[in-house]
Symmetry: C2
Amino acid sequence: MDEVFKALADASRRSLLDRLHARNGQTLGDLCDGLAMTRQAVTKHLGILEAANLVSTIRHGREKLHYLNPVPIHQIGERWIKKFERGRLAALSELKRQLEKRDE
Amino acid sequence: MDEVFKALADASRRSLLDRLHARNGQTLGDLCDGLAMTRQAVTKHLGILEAANLVSTIRHGREKLHYLNPVPIHQIGERWIKKFERGRLAALSELKRQLEKRDE
DNA sequence: TTGACATGCAACCTTTTAGTTGCCTATTAT
DNA sequence: ATAATAGGCAACTAAAAGGTTGCATGTCAA
């Protein structure tokens, strides 16, 4: 889980996931297009995404195809974010109450 | 949004949010208890959480009370994670299909 | 079979991050 | 008043992160 959070912390990596979400199965070259980064930097980012199991790859001849794996993202939603949903309104109203108490 | 992702990337900070979720309105001292870190380190983490608007604080005499703000977490879920839900099964089945094609 | 193309590997540099130590300030209780 | 308590500030360190350059390798097309 920690690896996934860390992988998602970088905007370039989130953008790579966005691009794979828009079109799955892209090659490294595809994913480099239009980015202000060297190919090697992109490779490293993809490596981190792969280590976090957010991306799976298969070699196809001299090309490497990248596929989005949405499962870990889904798990973050289910196992972590949902926990904070419960009591969201309660927490907010308590916060508001406390902030207002400041002016007493 | 980037600040929130970065703030959530650290396990110590997520643990602080967990603790505030369990009991809201804790002081700095409360939040330091049982952590293998100096108070100053915790202060820094809380500062990052506050900058990301995940925590709000109010001084109460010599104490500083910390309140969880669940809104940014909720937004990550709504604006980012949900996007990857759509087509989750589709992406998975395509991935599976491609992985199986490897053995042809 | 040779050149172009797609990717891999490794060393290096710079900035950020996580944490520390040491000292200072403000509030409260005795 | 004064001592203990709660927290703030700043300088420093070590390690990790993000990125680069240079070169090597494997695959495809002419």
